[in-house]
Symmetry: C2
Subunit: 436 residues, 2 copies
């Protein structure tokens, strides 16, 4: 990590300079984000013992020594983030304070923009609700059938605020569909279902793509930085004040998030000294979803989530028990080499795989999406797969490129995330011309 810290510092200062030149409130946001990151970086090591004492700790199974490591470090990270947002809250509205009736340099009226403040409040409320439920899950170990609805519950204030704020529920249709349905389609209540689904997906998808050091915070950071870059593109020469405002709003939430995430990642990177816990995964997923919804770029957001979408769809057969699903699907640690290998699932082990299950395996196998470790020698079975890698993107990479060290596996996954973002930008700004 010797080179990473100075590199991050230089990068941060350059970013700060660029953003500061675009909008003065961003100076405050960038400063607070750096402060939040520094505080997180300093605070986490001091809390380690308290968390272990409270039995908020877990064993790092992918190490030779099986060290006990404090868990749920996402909680202090999220709390520092929330405090930062509380402190930051008045700054976008500074022009309205101190006897002035409103900012002189815009064409806004003198009325205090309570709807904008309400937007920030509802966003923080949704994020905080998710942190509370995530922490409760870490402590109480809630069952999946309940916690799958947690994000929708936590997102409720956001959706309600969206409703009261007369939020747009129209969707612009692709060019190819316009002759049949018109330019816009009014989704109405369906749009709220879409937003709820988006919140549930973003929140859980980060929690599912987990299990090796640095991967939860790492993927969140790549997505957050992608959003920051995307927002920055709208800061300069943007003639539409609503669009400028939406992307500023997004930056206000993403910059401190990137700050605290970098700090957490430094402690969570291989070999991890802290675990992030469900609290962090939920916190990260909700923050990204909130920003996508209130910043009105939920489709772009989903492009940044391509690896998570792939991982989710790829995992579905096991998540929904179409294929045998072992309790843990994390990679296997080989104590002799010290490297990670993909963990495998033996089909038909407990009960014979269903027809649907066999079909899915066949399709995945022919697409090269699973690596078979044992095939049937029976001719009747047509050489069908009897043992394959567990259906997660981590195991897929290890199946083809492994064995690898834990650090290299994390780096590979983050590279995939990075290239997905590059592709997302390409789709968003080049390919999109053919569709919209």
């Amino acid at each position: 990590m010797g080179i990473i810290l100075p590199l991050l510092t230089v990068l941060t200062l350059i970013t700060a300079g660029i953003l500061a030149s675009a909008h003065e409130t961003l100076v405050v946001s960038v400063s607070l984000s750096i402060l939040a990151g520094w505080m997180t970086w300093k605070t986490l090591p001091q809390l380690k013992q308290a968390f272990v004492n409270a039995r908020l700790c877990g064993i790092d199974l992918l190490k030779r020594e099986k060290p006990v490591i404090p868990e749920t470090m996402g909680l202090p990270t999220a709390i520092i983030y929330l405090i930062t947002m509380f402190v930051f809250m008045p700054f976008p509205f500074m022009a309205w304070f101190g006897g002035k009736t409103g900012p002189q340099d815009t064409n806004m009226s003198g009325i205090f923009p309570h709807h904008k403040l309400g937007e920030i409040l509802s966003a923080i409320l949704a994020i905080q609700s998710m942190v509370l439920l995530g922490f409760a899950d870490d402590v109480l170990d809630v069952r999946w059938r309940y916690k799958v609805w947690f994000p929708a519950l936590a997102g409720a204030p956001l959706l309600i605020f969206y409703y009261t704020n007369c939020g747009v529920t129209d969707v612009v249709l692709p060019l190819q569909l316009r002759p049949y349905f018109g330019t816009n389609i009014h989704l109405g209540p369906l749009y709220y279902v879409y937003m709820a689904m988006l919140i549930i997906f973003c929140t859980h998808s980060i929690n599912i793509l987990a299990g090796i050091n640095g991967i939860e915070a790492g993927q969140s950071l790549v997505i957050a930085v992608s959003i920051i870059i995307n927002d920055s593109l709208y800061l300069f020469n943007n003639q539409d004040p609503a669009s400028l405002e939406a992307h500023l709003f997004s930056l206000y939430f993403m910059l401190p998030f990137a700050g605290v995430t970098i700090a957490l990642l430094l402690h969570n990177w291989f070999p991890a000294k802290v675990f992030v816990g469900d609290t962090y995964c939920y916190f990260a997923g909700m923050t990204l979803a909130v920003v996508g919804i209130l910043g009105h770029f939920s489709k772009t957001l989903l492009l940044f989530f391509i690896p998570q979408i792939f991982n989710f769809i790829y995992s579905c057969p096991q998540l929904f028990k179409v294929i045998e699903c072992p309790r843990h699907r994390m990679p296997r640690f080989n104590p002799e080499t010290g490297l990670l290998e993909c963990s495998t699932v033996i089909l038909d082990a407990k009960k014979p795989t269903s027809k649907l299950g066999r079909f899915v395996i066949k399709i995945f196998y022919s697409l090269g999406l699973i690596k078979a470790f044992k095939c049937s020698s029976n001719e009747e079975d047509n050489g069908r797969v009897l043992e394959c890698n567990n259906l997660t993107i981590i195991n897929l990479i290890l199946a083809y490129c492994g064995p690898m060290s834990e650090r290299d596996t994390a780096v590979s996954l983050l590279c995939i995330q990075f290239f997905a973002s590059v592709m997302a930008f390409f789709i968003r700004y080049k390919l999109v011309e053919y569709v919209y």
Copy 2:
């Protein structure tokens, strides 16, 4: 408890009827409050094992069998409260939805009152922040020097919103002071310090007056019901729409709070089957403080807190180590009689009491505020107190009226709380004429 449930039901229905006749949104609020109470009552028993499994449990020291009881049951209580508030949030604004431009029966303009929605959001945010920090305290056992500032931290969004909402910071002076300072005094930033202090006081004072079954939820319930009665007085024939709105706002928060608190109290009442935890004390204190501040009746609120104020001032010599303070100051359980006796402190036990400490003891003794259990026989010492009851209101009652059963002690304390409320109403509506 056989008589309490039907009694509560009848009382609730009467209250519901009266409130519903005053304002239609209150019908929704009362219904949701009853639902929230019912859900809390049903949910808590089902969560007991999960909390014990997560080691969120404690020993009830004041029982012969020393049973292990699930702790932190304030968390599900608070979460049900918060969900209720999320669900309730759109209802006060129903008139603005569905194509109408605004309520026809008031003189408000057609603009959606985002500042009112923001007020509700900031209040929920403050309460939820306190629940999160309270839960973190229950799990991690944070040190007092840190957690004393938790309420100020959690209250930040409220104060910031108060500021952006151009909140009044004037205080009306008593008649006797007006010739010197004028009718109003503009406190400015000092008013924010006052509000922060109020939040810190309300939150911790409920946490300090604790230690026997049913006392935390019981005192909160008496205060909440007092506030509900006080609010109801403003509902009828109120010509001032701002005052009506402020007290409606207060009711919207207090009714569900009373609902979930009754349910919690039923489980926490002697012999307790669950403990409420710091989470509940913080949640209750913050909810009451928030309502007092945004409802603009913080002075009336403080009148309802008279027993807590007395208990705090009375505790100060021990809290600030002027007098020896043992680790626990809860009453002593006599296993032979099964009754509670006051716990005592032996002065000069570890180090000689300071001059200030001796002075305080002397004053308290001469006022009858401590009961001496051992006095010096040395003539030089002038018969000074060597052992007395610990300085809490619970021990004071037990010193004079004890030994008592735990249930009777709780009933006595709740009676004191009740008479304090009666006195508060007398001061607020009768004595006040001589001062304002």
